[in-house]
């Protein structure tokens, strides 16, 4: 099993704050990997570093062998690495269907930018919206959805783009607890059926333990521990990090 993502000694500073210090991790293609850690440990910063939202200060990030740290956000996305946001980002004034149709991965060559959206997109969009449970709401403005529903829309939009790897920032936060089992089921299906590698930041321990095959734990900007869910659950350092984070 090859590594689809390799993060080597990545550091990111914001002024004097060491948001990420010497982070290294590898993610195997086709796996589901969790990223946990108390608030402020630098998880979202790491995500931002990987997808190019900000440049990194030290280290290297390779996706399928390609160095990402010098690339811009949109280029990285076209390579097949997508992320969803903790504070949902969707196209608020457009309908859910439009959000979906715009998310399809197409060529941005000058010769293609004036193409019309094909009719088949509608069907594909409806299918995926149905998959995440938003079919009934497909014609509503995305801005009218609740926070949890927007999270689902973001997931659907990402699927529409057919990524190779999907980085999810707290996918179940703000979601009705009864729905969470459905989400876990969807994520496992996405990974299994569509062979999309998942890298998931989560605070909900039940979700992480049931979902991830491997877990990384961060604290204070550094990588603290990593291993299988069962190992991490009992790792004293991890427990201390969470309890001591008050």
């Amino acid at each position: 099993m090859t590594n689809i993502l390799e993060v080597n000694n990545v550091s990111k500073f914001f002024g004097g704050v060491k948001a990420n210090e010497d982070i290294s991790l590898n993610i195997k293609q086709g796996s589901i990997v969790g990223l946990i850690g108390p608030n402020g440990s630098g998880k979202t910063t790491l995500f931002n570093s990987i997808v190019g939202t900000h440049p990194i200060d030290k280290g290297s990030i390779k996706f399928e062998g390609q160095e990402l740290s010098t690339m811009l956000v949109d280029k990285i996305a076209t390579l097949g690495l997508l992320r969803t946001f903790q504070q949902t980002k969707i196209y608020g004034q457009m309908s859910c269907m439009m959000n979906m149709k715009i998310s399809k991965k197409v060529s941005n060559d000058y010769s293609r930018i004036f193409d019309k959206l094909p009719k088949e997109l509608d069907e594909e969009a409806e299918q995926i919206l149905s998959f995440v449970g938003l079919y009934e709401k497909r014609n509503l403005r995305a801005g009218e959805l609740s926070f949890g529903q927007q999270k689902l829309l973001e997931l659907a939009m990402a699927l529409m783009n057919k990524p190779k790897m999907l980085m999810l920032d707290e996918p179940t936060a703000g979601i009705n607890p009864t729905l969470i089992n459905g989400i876990i089921d969807r994520l496992i299906k996405i990974n299994d059926k569509y062979k999309i590698t998942l890298f998931v930041i989560e605070h909900n321990m039940r979700v992480v333990m049931n979902l991830a095959q491997h877990i990384f734990c961060m604290a204070h900007g550094k990588m603290l521990a990593n291993g299988k869910p069962a190992e991490i659950k009992n790792d004293k350092r991890v427990i201390d990090a969470y309890l001591g984070a008050h």
Binding site: D74, I90, M94, K105, N108, D115, E136, L140, Q149, M157
Partner: protein, 360 residues
Amino acid sequence: MLSDKKELSGITLIILFGVLSPILFPNYRIQLSELWIFMVFASTWNIQGGKMGYNSFGNIIFFGLGMYLCASTQIAYAFDLAEWTAAGGVKTFVHTASQYFIGLPLGLIIAGLVPALIAGFLGSLILGLRGHYFAICTLGIGIAAGEFATSVSIWGGGQGMTVPVWPKVDGQDLDFLGGGMNFFYTLSFLLFVSTFFTLRWLFSTRFGLILTAIRDNEDKAEAMGIPTMRYKVTGWVFSAFFMGIAGGIYGNINGYIEPTEVAFAGATFGVYMVLMTILGGKGTLWGPIIGALVFQVFKEFFWTFFLGWQLVALGFLIIVIVVFFPEGIMGWLRQKKPAWFGEVVDSKARLAQVKINTND
């Protein structure tokens, strides 16, 4: 998006109005020409301001540049431009019909292409700015362009320059289409019609949708792999092209070009285009058109009956529009008659629960 039937009636109305109005209101042909030019102003501004969310106060530079370039081409085709300006233009030099009717289309083509190229270059520099920074930067460009044009002596500097007049044959105006006034009215109307159909097509493509995506969440668009700069700049190139030609036509209608009041009229036209679009409803195809119509009516009214106070009335109108009707006439219509837009207020969709079928 207006429903197809409503749109068809709208288009028919416009065409009828365009063809009949100069015949019915021959004394208002200048204002009518101006109306079509205003519609081009608003419709093209709408690409940046309405669809894309980039409020530009600088689109006027393409208008002004097109105006000067068209006139310069028309003149330079037959005479020496510097001599023309120095000798008071039309007072000394007279175009023959053939010179005129070759110089003019040449001028209009250049008036369209050069601003489009400049938009491509300038856009790559300043379309990285966002929000109010973009707005103020374009304001700066708009005003600076006017100020610098004031120093270009070959264009007559601060005094401006005259534009070639409609050719005469045996002392009478050449009777082509009924004379210069009709000719340029027709050009203005045709320009508007081509702008309208181009934009209608543009907004129906993926390109149009991406502009809206950029407006709603530019960061998300980038995160989804869209090279946003490409779309922003291309949109500006479209605007520049039509604005440039509009400038060329307007210069001919006006008869003379003055750098800050006529060509790079940032404080008047530059702001009007924003107001007209907001008044009509920004982001929609018909909003700018309705807005331009209503605005032109108000403007003529103010300038006729409130002369001396017309700017006060205009300022007041701006405040009223902006405070009470930020969604414009189209926005207001959308609330009142959603059926016209093919929108069904679906409370069923709003109340629906999210259902994940785990057997899928």
